[in-house]
Protein backbone atom coordinates (compact mmCIF):
# COMPACT_ATOMS: atom_id res chain seq x y z
CA UNK A 1 0.00 0.00 0.00
CA UNK A 2 2.91 2.32 0.73
CA UNK A 3 6.47 2.49 -0.51
CA UNK A 4 9.52 4.20 0.92
CA UNK A 5 11.21 7.15 -0.76
CA UNK A 6 14.73 6.45 -1.96
CA UNK A 7 16.37 9.24 0.02
CA UNK A 8 15.38 7.65 3.34
CA UNK A 9 18.71 7.16 5.13
CA UNK A 10 17.42 6.14 8.54
CA UNK A 11 18.86 3.10 10.31
CA UNK A 12 17.14 -0.26 9.66
CA UNK A 13 15.27 -1.83 12.58
CA UNK A 14 14.24 -5.49 12.47
CA UNK A 15 10.81 -6.34 13.84
CA UNK A 16 8.80 -9.55 13.69
CA UNK A 17 5.25 -9.56 12.37
CA UNK A 18 3.47 -12.83 13.13
CA UNK A 19 6.95 -14.30 13.45
CA UNK A 20 8.10 -13.01 10.07
CA UNK A 21 11.10 -10.66 9.90
CA UNK A 22 10.30 -7.17 8.62
CA UNK A 23 12.78 -4.36 8.09
CA UNK A 24 11.45 -1.08 9.44
CA UNK A 25 13.31 2.20 9.90
CA UNK A 26 14.22 4.02 13.07
CA UNK A 27 11.45 6.55 13.74
CA UNK A 28 8.70 4.49 12.11
CA UNK A 29 5.62 3.85 14.16
CA UNK A 30 4.44 0.26 14.32
CA UNK A 31 1.44 1.15 12.16
CA UNK A 32 3.60 2.80 9.49
CA UNK A 33 6.04 -0.13 9.48
CA UNK A 34 3.13 -2.55 9.03
CA UNK A 35 1.63 -0.58 6.14
CA UNK A 36 5.05 -0.41 4.45
CA UNK A 37 5.74 -4.12 4.97
CA UNK A 38 3.68 -5.38 2.03
CA UNK A 39 2.17 -8.03 4.31
CA UNK A 40 -1.55 -8.51 4.91
CA UNK A 41 -1.80 -6.69 8.23
CA UNK A 42 -5.57 -6.22 8.40
CA UNK A 43 -6.94 -6.64 11.90
CA UNK A 44 -10.54 -7.69 12.49
CA UNK A 45 -12.98 -5.70 14.60
CA UNK A 46 -14.26 -6.74 18.00
CA UNK A 47 -17.91 -6.21 17.02
CA UNK A 48 -18.45 -7.86 13.61
CA UNK A 49 -15.01 -9.21 12.74
CA UNK A 50 -14.80 -6.88 9.73
CA UNK A 51 -11.29 -6.28 8.37
CA UNK A 52 -9.68 -2.91 9.08
CA UNK A 53 -6.46 -1.04 8.52
CA UNK A 54 -5.28 2.19 10.17
CA UNK A 55 -7.44 5.19 9.24
CA UNK A 56 -6.09 8.35 10.95
CA UNK A 57 -2.46 7.57 11.93
CA UNK A 58 -2.62 10.20 14.68
CA UNK A 59 -3.98 8.41 17.69
CA UNK A 60 -7.65 9.20 17.16
CA UNK A 61 -9.43 6.32 15.39
CA UNK A 62 -8.08 3.18 17.13
CA UNK A 63 -8.23 1.23 13.88
CA UNK A 64 -4.50 0.49 14.23
CA UNK A 65 -4.98 -1.61 17.38
CA UNK A 66 -2.35 -4.33 17.52
CA UNK A 67 -0.65 -6.71 19.92
CA UNK A 68 2.91 -5.58 20.69
CA UNK A 69 5.30 -7.79 22.65
CA UNK A 70 2.35 -9.75 24.01
CA UNK A 71 0.24 -6.78 25.03
CA UNK A 72 -3.01 -6.28 23.15
CA UNK A 73 -4.97 -3.16 22.15
CA UNK A 74 -1.91 -0.96 21.63
CA UNK A 75 -2.30 1.99 19.26
CA UNK A 76 0.23 1.04 16.61
CA UNK A 77 0.36 4.60 15.27
CA UNK A 78 1.72 5.96 18.57
CA UNK A 79 4.35 3.33 19.35
CA UNK A 80 7.80 3.56 17.74
CA UNK A 81 9.39 0.36 16.42
CA UNK A 82 12.18 -1.16 18.50
CA UNK A 83 14.75 -3.76 17.49
CA UNK A 84 13.31 -7.26 17.93
CA UNK A 85 9.76 -6.09 18.63
CA UNK A 86 7.16 -8.84 18.23
CA UNK A 87 3.90 -7.84 16.60
CA UNK A 88 0.74 -9.85 16.22
CA UNK A 89 -2.24 -8.74 14.17
CA UNK A 90 -5.25 -8.54 16.45
CA UNK A 91 -8.23 -10.60 15.41
CA UNK A 92 -11.34 -9.53 17.27
CA UNK A 93 -11.30 -8.51 20.91
CA UNK A 94 -8.20 -8.24 23.01
CA UNK A 95 -7.71 -11.53 24.85
CA UNK A 96 -7.77 -11.65 28.64
CA UNK A 97 -4.25 -11.54 30.04
CA UNK A 98 -2.63 -9.80 27.07
Amino acid sequence: MFKRIEEDRRRAVEIFVEGQSVTAREGDTVAAALLASGLDVRRSTAVSGAPRLPYCMMGVCFDCLVTIDGMGNRQGCLVPVREGMRIEIQKGKREIGR
Binding site: F2, T29, A32, L35, R42, Y55, V60, L65, L78
Partner: protein, 472 residues
Protein backbone atom coordinates in the same frame (compact mmCIF):
# COMPACT_ATOMS: atom_id res chain seq x y z
CA UNK B 1 13.68 15.73 27.03
CA UNK B 2 12.81 13.59 30.05
CA UNK B 3 10.98 10.28 30.27
CA UNK B 4 8.99 10.85 33.47
CA UNK B 5 7.88 14.15 35.03
CA UNK B 6 10.65 15.51 37.25
CA UNK B 7 8.20 17.12 39.70
CA UNK B 8 4.75 16.53 41.18
CA UNK B 9 3.69 20.13 40.67
CA UNK B 10 4.33 22.79 38.05
CA UNK B 11 3.37 26.38 37.51
CA UNK B 12 2.12 25.53 34.04
CA UNK B 13 1.35 22.30 32.24
CA UNK B 14 1.01 22.72 28.48
CA UNK B 15 -0.75 19.82 26.76
CA UNK B 16 0.21 19.31 23.13
CA UNK B 17 3.49 20.20 21.37
CA UNK B 18 2.08 21.57 18.13
CA UNK B 19 2.32 25.23 17.09
CA UNK B 20 0.27 26.61 20.01
CA UNK B 21 1.83 24.42 22.68
CA UNK B 22 5.40 25.06 21.51
CA UNK B 23 4.85 28.82 21.39
CA UNK B 24 3.14 28.88 24.78
CA UNK B 25 5.66 26.68 26.61
CA UNK B 26 8.63 28.63 25.26
CA UNK B 27 7.16 31.85 26.68
CA UNK B 28 6.10 30.56 30.09
CA UNK B 29 9.36 28.70 30.67
CA UNK B 30 11.31 31.68 29.35
CA UNK B 31 9.56 33.83 31.93
CA UNK B 32 10.86 31.55 34.66
CA UNK B 33 7.67 29.58 35.33
CA UNK B 34 8.13 25.86 35.99
CA UNK B 35 6.67 24.51 32.75
CA UNK B 36 5.90 20.96 31.69
CA UNK B 37 5.12 20.39 28.01
CA UNK B 38 3.49 16.99 27.46
CA UNK B 39 2.82 15.46 24.07
CA UNK B 40 1.59 12.13 22.79
CA UNK B 41 3.84 11.86 19.75
CA UNK B 42 7.43 10.69 19.42
CA UNK B 43 8.72 14.20 18.79
CA UNK B 44 7.54 17.81 18.91
CA UNK B 45 5.65 19.56 16.10
CA UNK B 46 2.08 18.34 16.42
CA UNK B 47 0.48 17.24 13.19
CA UNK B 48 1.42 20.21 11.02
CA UNK B 49 5.14 19.99 11.84
CA UNK B 50 5.02 16.27 12.43
CA UNK B 51 8.47 14.61 12.79
CA UNK B 52 10.20 17.91 12.06
CA UNK B 53 13.29 16.81 14.00
CA UNK B 54 13.47 13.32 12.49
CA UNK B 55 11.84 13.31 9.04
CA UNK B 56 13.73 11.35 6.36
CA UNK B 57 12.48 13.91 3.82
CA UNK B 58 15.44 16.26 3.96
CA UNK B 59 15.07 18.21 0.70
CA UNK B 60 13.35 21.39 1.87
CA UNK B 61 11.13 22.10 -1.15
CA UNK B 62 9.37 18.73 -0.87
CA UNK B 63 7.48 19.47 2.34
CA UNK B 64 7.57 23.25 1.77
CA UNK B 65 8.54 26.37 3.74
CA UNK B 66 5.49 26.31 6.02
CA UNK B 67 6.63 22.94 7.33
CA UNK B 68 10.20 23.97 8.06
CA UNK B 69 9.00 27.17 9.76
CA UNK B 70 8.32 24.97 12.79
CA UNK B 71 12.01 24.37 13.44
CA UNK B 72 12.47 27.78 15.05
CA UNK B 73 9.68 27.14 17.57
CA UNK B 74 11.14 23.75 18.46
CA UNK B 75 14.55 25.37 18.97
CA UNK B 76 12.97 28.10 21.12
CA UNK B 77 11.17 25.70 23.42
CA UNK B 78 14.25 23.50 23.79
CA UNK B 79 16.29 26.55 24.82
CA UNK B 80 13.59 27.87 27.15
CA UNK B 81 14.09 25.51 30.07
CA UNK B 82 10.67 23.88 29.67
CA UNK B 83 10.54 20.23 30.65
CA UNK B 84 9.42 18.34 27.55
CA UNK B 85 7.77 14.96 27.82
CA UNK B 86 7.10 13.09 24.55
CA UNK B 87 5.06 9.90 24.19
CA UNK B 88 3.03 10.95 27.18
CA UNK B 89 -0.71 10.43 26.89
CA UNK B 90 -2.90 12.68 28.99
CA UNK B 91 -5.98 10.73 30.03
CA UNK B 92 -7.40 13.02 32.67
CA UNK B 93 -7.73 16.69 33.56
CA UNK B 94 -10.10 18.07 36.18
CA UNK B 95 -11.21 21.36 37.70
CA UNK B 96 -8.51 21.15 40.37
CA UNK B 97 -5.96 21.23 37.53
CA UNK B 98 -4.64 17.78 38.23
CA UNK B 99 -3.33 16.06 35.10
CA UNK B 100 -3.32 12.27 34.73
CA UNK B 101 -0.77 11.07 32.23
CA UNK B 102 0.71 7.83 31.11
CA UNK B 103 4.20 7.14 29.81
CA UNK B 104 5.39 3.73 28.66
CA UNK B 105 2.82 1.86 30.69
CA UNK B 106 3.28 3.89 33.90
CA UNK B 107 0.78 6.48 35.12
CA UNK B 108 1.49 9.71 37.00
CA UNK B 109 -0.53 12.59 38.39
CA UNK B 110 0.87 16.10 38.28
CA UNK B 111 -0.63 19.33 39.57
CA UNK B 112 -0.52 22.72 37.90
CA UNK B 113 -1.40 26.30 38.79
CA UNK B 114 -2.43 26.88 35.20
CA UNK B 115 -3.14 24.64 32.22
CA UNK B 116 -2.74 25.53 28.57
CA UNK B 117 -4.64 23.06 26.43
CA UNK B 118 -3.16 22.87 22.95
CA UNK B 119 -4.68 19.62 21.78
CA UNK B 120 -5.14 20.84 18.23
CA UNK B 121 -7.45 19.50 15.60
CA UNK B 122 -8.52 16.24 14.09
CA UNK B 123 -9.95 15.59 10.67
CA UNK B 124 -13.68 16.00 10.35
CA UNK B 125 -15.49 12.68 10.08
CA UNK B 126 -16.11 11.82 6.42
CA UNK B 127 -18.82 9.16 6.62
CA UNK B 128 -19.35 7.77 3.13
CA UNK B 129 -20.39 4.20 2.28
CA UNK B 130 -17.31 2.00 2.60
CA UNK B 131 -15.16 4.42 4.62
CA UNK B 132 -14.28 1.60 7.02
CA UNK B 133 -12.77 -0.59 4.26
CA UNK B 134 -9.03 -1.29 4.49
CA UNK B 135 -7.26 1.04 2.07
CA UNK B 136 -9.49 4.02 2.92
CA UNK B 137 -7.61 6.50 5.08
CA UNK B 138 -7.60 10.19 5.78
CA UNK B 139 -5.40 12.57 3.80
CA UNK B 140 -3.88 13.54 7.13
CA UNK B 141 -2.90 9.90 7.74
CA UNK B 142 -1.09 9.77 4.41
CA UNK B 143 0.62 13.06 5.20
CA UNK B 144 1.71 11.79 8.60
CA UNK B 145 3.34 8.76 6.98
CA UNK B 146 4.93 10.94 4.34
CA UNK B 147 6.45 13.31 6.90
CA UNK B 148 7.49 10.87 9.59
CA UNK B 149 8.50 7.85 7.50
CA UNK B 150 8.88 9.06 3.91
CA UNK B 151 6.10 6.71 2.78
CA UNK B 152 4.15 7.27 -0.43
CA UNK B 153 0.81 5.66 -1.25
CA UNK B 154 1.19 3.02 -3.93
CA UNK B 155 -1.09 1.52 -6.57
CA UNK B 156 -4.18 3.34 -7.82
CA UNK B 157 -4.46 6.35 -5.53
CA UNK B 158 -7.51 8.61 -5.35
CA UNK B 159 -7.72 11.71 -3.16
CA UNK B 160 -11.27 12.90 -2.46
CA UNK B 161 -12.78 15.77 -0.53
CA UNK B 162 -11.91 19.40 -0.11
CA UNK B 163 -9.95 22.00 1.81
CA UNK B 164 -6.36 23.28 1.93
CA UNK B 165 -4.84 20.07 3.32
CA UNK B 166 -6.21 18.03 0.42
CA UNK B 167 -4.29 20.16 -2.09
CA UNK B 168 -1.16 20.38 0.05
CA UNK B 169 -0.99 16.62 0.49
CA UNK B 170 -1.59 16.02 -3.22
CA UNK B 171 1.17 18.48 -4.12
CA UNK B 172 3.58 16.85 -1.65
CA UNK B 173 2.90 13.33 -2.93
CA UNK B 174 3.45 14.44 -6.53
CA UNK B 175 6.63 16.40 -5.69
CA UNK B 176 8.09 13.33 -4.04
CA UNK B 177 7.53 11.22 -7.13
CA UNK B 178 4.31 9.57 -5.98
CA UNK B 179 1.36 8.96 -8.28
CA UNK B 180 -2.22 10.13 -7.88
CA UNK B 181 -4.74 8.76 -10.37
CA UNK B 182 -7.50 11.23 -9.62
CA UNK B 183 -8.41 14.10 -7.30
CA UNK B 184 -12.14 14.42 -6.62
CA UNK B 185 -13.10 17.85 -5.32
CA UNK B 186 -16.27 17.84 -3.23
CA UNK B 187 -16.24 21.59 -2.51
CA UNK B 188 -19.84 22.78 -2.65
CA UNK B 189 -20.01 25.35 -5.46
CA UNK B 190 -22.99 27.06 -3.85
CA UNK B 191 -20.62 28.19 -1.08
CA UNK B 192 -18.79 30.51 -3.46
CA UNK B 193 -21.54 33.09 -3.48
CA UNK B 194 -21.98 32.91 0.29
CA UNK B 195 -18.24 33.34 0.81
CA UNK B 196 -18.06 36.38 -1.47
CA UNK B 197 -18.51 39.02 1.28
CA UNK B 198 -15.35 37.62 2.94
CA UNK B 199 -13.32 37.74 -0.27
CA UNK B 200 -11.44 41.07 0.05
CA UNK B 201 -9.39 40.20 3.17
CA UNK B 202 -8.72 36.75 1.71
CA UNK B 203 -7.24 38.25 -1.47
CA UNK B 204 -4.62 40.09 0.57
CA UNK B 205 -3.85 37.10 2.83
CA UNK B 206 -1.01 34.65 2.21
CA UNK B 207 -3.61 31.89 1.76
CA UNK B 208 -4.65 33.28 -1.61
CA UNK B 209 -1.41 32.92 -3.56
CA UNK B 210 -0.27 29.80 -1.73
CA UNK B 211 -3.61 28.15 -2.39
CA UNK B 212 -3.69 29.08 -6.06
CA UNK B 213 -0.11 27.91 -6.60
CA UNK B 214 -0.79 24.59 -4.92
CA UNK B 215 -3.96 23.93 -6.91
CA UNK B 216 -2.14 24.80 -10.14
CA UNK B 217 0.70 22.47 -9.23
CA UNK B 218 -1.70 19.58 -8.65
CA UNK B 219 -3.85 20.25 -11.72
CA UNK B 220 -0.77 20.32 -13.95
CA UNK B 221 0.17 16.80 -12.92
CA UNK B 222 -2.99 14.87 -12.29
CA UNK B 223 -6.63 14.77 -13.26
CA UNK B 224 -8.99 16.80 -11.07
CA UNK B 225 -12.77 16.45 -11.17
CA UNK B 226 -14.74 19.19 -9.43
CA UNK B 227 -18.34 19.46 -8.29
CA UNK B 228 -18.41 15.95 -6.84
CA UNK B 229 -21.71 15.37 -5.04
CA UNK B 230 -21.50 11.74 -3.95
CA UNK B 231 -18.82 9.21 -3.04
CA UNK B 232 -19.06 5.51 -2.22
CA UNK B 233 -16.14 3.16 -1.63
CA UNK B 234 -16.72 -0.46 -2.59
CA UNK B 235 -14.83 -3.67 -2.16
CA UNK B 236 -14.74 -7.03 -0.49
CA UNK B 237 -12.30 -7.11 2.40
CA UNK B 238 -10.54 -3.99 1.11
CA UNK B 239 -11.35 -0.99 -1.06
CA UNK B 240 -11.45 -1.93 -4.73
CA UNK B 241 -13.49 0.79 -6.40
CA UNK B 242 -14.86 4.24 -5.85
CA UNK B 243 -18.22 5.30 -7.28
CA UNK B 244 -18.80 9.04 -7.57
CA UNK B 245 -21.15 11.53 -9.11
CA UNK B 246 -20.14 14.88 -10.59
CA UNK B 247 -22.39 17.23 -12.52
CA UNK B 248 -25.12 14.57 -12.61
CA UNK B 249 -22.80 11.96 -14.19
CA UNK B 250 -22.04 8.75 -12.36
CA UNK B 251 -18.66 7.05 -12.69
CA UNK B 252 -16.79 4.24 -11.02
CA UNK B 253 -13.02 3.81 -10.93
CA UNK B 254 -10.76 1.10 -9.54
CA UNK B 255 -8.77 2.18 -6.47
CA UNK B 256 -6.22 0.69 -4.06
CA UNK B 257 -5.77 3.64 -1.72
CA UNK B 258 -8.52 6.20 -1.12
CA UNK B 259 -7.53 9.29 0.85
CA UNK B 260 -10.43 11.31 2.31
CA UNK B 261 -10.43 14.80 3.76
CA UNK B 262 -13.02 17.50 4.38
CA UNK B 263 -11.35 19.88 6.77
CA UNK B 264 -10.39 19.73 10.41
CA UNK B 265 -12.29 20.39 13.64
CA UNK B 266 -11.14 21.07 17.21
CA UNK B 267 -10.10 18.06 19.26
CA UNK B 268 -12.33 18.80 22.24
CA UNK B 269 -12.30 15.57 24.24
CA UNK B 270 -9.93 16.62 27.01
CA UNK B 271 -11.38 20.14 27.37
CA UNK B 272 -14.93 18.78 27.53
CA UNK B 273 -13.96 16.13 30.07
CA UNK B 274 -12.42 18.87 32.23
CA UNK B 275 -15.79 20.63 32.22
CA UNK B 276 -14.92 23.44 29.80
CA UNK B 277 -18.11 24.92 28.36
CA UNK B 278 -18.40 24.63 24.56
CA UNK B 279 -20.69 26.14 21.97
CA UNK B 280 -21.74 25.02 18.51
CA UNK B 281 -20.10 27.08 15.75
CA UNK B 282 -22.62 27.53 12.95
CA UNK B 283 -19.95 28.43 10.39
CA UNK B 284 -17.24 25.89 11.18
CA UNK B 285 -19.95 23.31 12.03
CA UNK B 286 -18.25 21.95 15.13
CA UNK B 287 -17.93 22.49 18.90
CA UNK B 288 -15.57 25.17 20.10
CA UNK B 289 -14.70 26.07 23.70
CA UNK B 290 -16.11 29.31 25.12
CA UNK B 291 -13.07 31.47 25.80
CA UNK B 292 -12.34 35.01 26.86
CA UNK B 293 -10.02 37.18 24.78
CA UNK B 294 -6.99 35.73 26.59
CA UNK B 295 -7.92 32.16 25.89
CA UNK B 296 -9.20 31.36 29.40
CA UNK B 297 -12.09 28.91 29.50
CA UNK B 298 -15.11 28.59 31.78
CA UNK B 299 -12.93 26.51 34.14
CA UNK B 300 -10.68 28.84 36.14
CA UNK B 301 -7.03 28.28 35.27
CA UNK B 302 -7.63 26.30 32.07
CA UNK B 303 -6.68 28.15 28.89
CA UNK B 304 -7.20 26.78 25.41
CA UNK B 305 -4.95 27.76 22.49
CA UNK B 306 -4.46 26.67 18.92
CA UNK B 307 -6.86 24.83 16.67
CA UNK B 308 -8.49 23.29 19.75
CA UNK B 309 -9.91 26.78 20.35
CA UNK B 310 -11.44 26.93 16.87
CA UNK B 311 -9.79 26.22 13.55
CA UNK B 312 -7.35 28.92 12.46
CA UNK B 313 -4.30 27.08 11.16
CA UNK B 314 -0.68 26.95 12.33
CA UNK B 315 0.16 30.63 12.37
CA UNK B 316 -3.04 31.58 14.21
CA UNK B 317 -2.26 28.79 16.65
CA UNK B 318 1.16 30.26 17.41
CA UNK B 319 -0.40 33.64 18.20
CA UNK B 320 -3.11 32.11 20.37
CA UNK B 321 -0.42 30.16 22.21
CA UNK B 322 1.45 33.39 22.94
CA UNK B 323 -1.70 35.15 24.12
CA UNK B 324 -2.58 32.32 26.50
CA UNK B 325 1.01 32.18 27.75
CA UNK B 326 1.05 35.91 28.39
CA UNK B 327 -2.17 35.69 30.40
CA UNK B 328 -0.67 32.87 32.47
CA UNK B 329 2.55 34.77 33.08
CA UNK B 330 0.60 37.87 34.07
CA UNK B 331 -1.37 35.85 36.60
CA UNK B 332 1.54 33.92 38.13
CA UNK B 333 4.51 36.24 37.75
CA UNK B 334 3.34 39.76 36.82
CA UNK B 335 6.84 41.25 36.89
CA UNK B 336 7.93 38.86 34.08
CA UNK B 337 4.86 39.85 32.06
CA UNK B 338 6.10 43.43 31.84
CA UNK B 339 8.96 42.34 29.58
CA UNK B 340 6.57 40.83 27.01
CA UNK B 341 4.62 42.42 24.19
CA UNK B 342 1.37 43.77 25.64
CA UNK B 343 -1.96 42.13 25.04
CA UNK B 344 -3.12 44.69 22.46
CA UNK B 345 -0.04 44.03 20.32
CA UNK B 346 -0.52 40.26 20.53
CA UNK B 347 -4.21 40.65 19.71
CA UNK B 348 -3.48 42.70 16.60
CA UNK B 349 -0.90 40.15 15.46
CA UNK B 350 -3.54 37.47 15.91
CA UNK B 351 -6.06 39.45 13.88
CA UNK B 352 -3.52 39.77 11.07
CA UNK B 353 -2.89 36.01 11.09
CA UNK B 354 -6.64 35.33 11.02
CA UNK B 355 -7.16 37.44 7.91
CA UNK B 356 -8.73 35.38 5.13
CA UNK B 357 -9.96 32.58 7.40
CA UNK B 358 -13.60 33.68 7.30
CA UNK B 359 -13.61 33.21 3.54
CA UNK B 360 -12.12 29.70 3.80
CA UNK B 361 -14.57 28.76 6.58
CA UNK B 362 -17.57 29.46 4.37
CA UNK B 363 -16.03 28.29 1.10
CA UNK B 364 -15.12 24.91 2.58
CA UNK B 365 -18.26 24.18 4.57
CA UNK B 366 -18.83 20.54 3.67
CA UNK B 367 -22.09 19.78 1.87
CA UNK B 368 -24.91 18.21 3.90
CA UNK B 369 -24.68 14.78 2.26
CA UNK B 370 -21.03 14.43 3.34
CA UNK B 371 -21.84 15.28 6.98
CA UNK B 372 -25.22 13.61 7.45
CA UNK B 373 -25.01 10.31 5.61
CA UNK B 374 -27.62 8.06 4.05
CA UNK B 375 -29.04 5.14 6.02
CA UNK B 376 -26.63 2.34 5.12
CA UNK B 377 -23.46 4.31 5.95
CA UNK B 378 -21.53 3.44 9.12
CA UNK B 379 -21.44 6.43 11.47
CA UNK B 380 -19.74 4.98 14.57
CA UNK B 381 -16.72 3.05 13.30
CA UNK B 382 -15.89 1.46 16.67
CA UNK B 383 -19.31 0.01 17.45
CA UNK B 384 -20.28 -0.33 13.77
CA UNK B 385 -23.52 1.63 14.03
CA UNK B 386 -25.16 2.90 10.84
CA UNK B 387 -27.11 6.08 10.15
CA UNK B 388 -30.23 3.92 9.86
CA UNK B 389 -29.65 2.51 13.37
CA UNK B 390 -29.45 6.06 14.69
CA UNK B 391 -32.53 7.31 12.84
CA UNK B 392 -34.49 4.29 14.11
CA UNK B 393 -33.35 5.03 17.65
CA UNK B 394 -34.55 8.61 17.30
CA UNK B 395 -37.91 7.26 16.14
CA UNK B 396 -37.98 5.10 19.27
CA UNK B 397 -37.35 8.11 21.48
CA UNK B 398 -33.60 8.72 21.77
CA UNK B 399 -33.33 12.47 22.30
CA UNK B 400 -29.58 13.16 22.03
CA UNK B 401 -26.12 11.63 21.82
CA UNK B 402 -26.08 10.59 25.50
CA UNK B 403 -29.34 8.68 25.33
CA UNK B 404 -28.21 7.16 22.06
CA UNK B 405 -25.34 5.47 23.90
CA UNK B 406 -27.88 3.35 25.78
CA UNK B 407 -29.66 2.47 22.54
CA UNK B 408 -26.68 1.78 20.31
CA UNK B 409 -23.35 2.21 22.15
CA UNK B 410 -22.36 4.98 19.71
CA UNK B 411 -19.32 6.81 21.00
CA UNK B 412 -18.62 4.13 23.62
CA UNK B 413 -15.87 2.36 21.71
CA UNK B 414 -12.18 3.12 22.08
CA UNK B 415 -12.22 6.33 19.99
CA UNK B 416 -14.73 7.80 22.45
CA UNK B 417 -16.77 9.58 19.82
CA UNK B 418 -13.92 11.36 18.07
CA UNK B 419 -14.87 9.82 14.70
CA UNK B 420 -18.66 9.87 15.10
CA UNK B 421 -19.58 12.63 17.54
CA UNK B 422 -20.15 15.45 15.07
CA UNK B 423 -22.06 13.18 12.70
CA UNK B 424 -24.27 11.93 15.52
CA UNK B 425 -25.07 15.46 16.71
CA UNK B 426 -25.95 16.75 13.24
CA UNK B 427 -27.81 13.60 12.25
CA UNK B 428 -29.95 13.59 15.41
CA UNK B 429 -30.53 17.34 15.09
CA UNK B 430 -31.84 16.86 11.58
CA UNK B 431 -33.93 13.83 12.50
CA UNK B 432 -35.51 15.67 15.42
CA UNK B 433 -35.86 19.05 13.70
CA UNK B 434 -33.64 20.73 16.28
CA UNK B 435 -30.38 22.67 16.14
CA UNK B 436 -27.06 20.94 16.92
CA UNK B 437 -26.74 23.27 19.94
CA UNK B 438 -30.07 21.96 21.30
CA UNK B 439 -29.08 18.33 20.66
CA UNK B 440 -25.69 18.68 22.35
CA UNK B 441 -22.77 16.28 22.44
CA UNK B 442 -21.59 13.18 24.29
CA UNK B 443 -20.83 13.81 27.95
CA UNK B 444 -17.13 13.09 28.00
CA UNK B 445 -15.32 11.85 31.08
CA UNK B 446 -11.86 10.75 32.10
CA UNK B 447 -10.09 8.63 31.12
CA UNK B 448 -10.24 10.28 27.69
CA UNK B 449 -7.74 7.75 26.39
CA UNK B 450 -7.92 4.08 27.40
CA UNK B 451 -5.48 3.08 30.12
CA UNK B 452 -4.94 -0.32 31.70
CA UNK B 453 -5.80 -1.15 35.30
CA UNK B 454 -2.12 -1.92 35.76
CA UNK B 455 -1.27 1.66 34.78
CA UNK B 456 -3.82 3.03 37.23
CA UNK B 457 -2.52 0.72 39.93
CA UNK B 458 1.01 1.96 39.29
CA UNK B 459 0.08 5.49 40.42
CA UNK B 460 2.23 6.49 43.36
CA UNK B 461 -0.04 6.39 46.44
CA UNK B 462 0.20 7.98 49.82
CA UNK B 463 -0.74 6.56 53.21
CA UNK B 464 -4.21 8.12 53.12
CA UNK B 465 -5.05 6.54 49.79
CA UNK B 466 -3.90 3.14 51.02
CA UNK B 467 -5.87 3.45 54.29
CA UNK B 468 -9.00 4.36 52.35
CA UNK B 469 -9.15 0.95 50.68
CA UNK B 470 -7.32 -1.43 53.02
CA UNK B 471 -9.39 -3.03 55.78
CA UNK B 472 -8.33 -3.90 59.30
Amino acid sequence: MTSIPQRDAYDVVVIGAGPAGLAAAALTAGAGLATLLVDENMGPGGQVWRAITTTPVKEKRLLGDDYWAGQRLVDDVRASGAEILQRATVWSLDRTLEVGLSIDGGARLVRAKRIILATGALERPFPIPGWTLPGVMTAGAAQTMLKSSGLLPQGRVVVAGQGPLLWLLSAQILRMGGMIDLVLDTADRRNRLRALPHLPPFLTSPYFFKGLAMMREVRARTQVVGGVTSLAARGSGRVEALAYEAGGRRSEIPVDVLLLHQGVVPNVNLAMAAGVRHRWDDVQLCWVPELDERGESSVAGIHVAGDGAGIGGASVAVHRGRIAARAVIEALKPEAGLALADHATLASELARAERGRAFLDVLFQPARQFRIPADETVVCRCEEVTARDIRESVALGATGPNQLKAYRRTGMGPCQGRLCGLTVTELMAEARGRTPAEIGYYRLRAPVKPITLAELASLPKGEDATKAVVRG
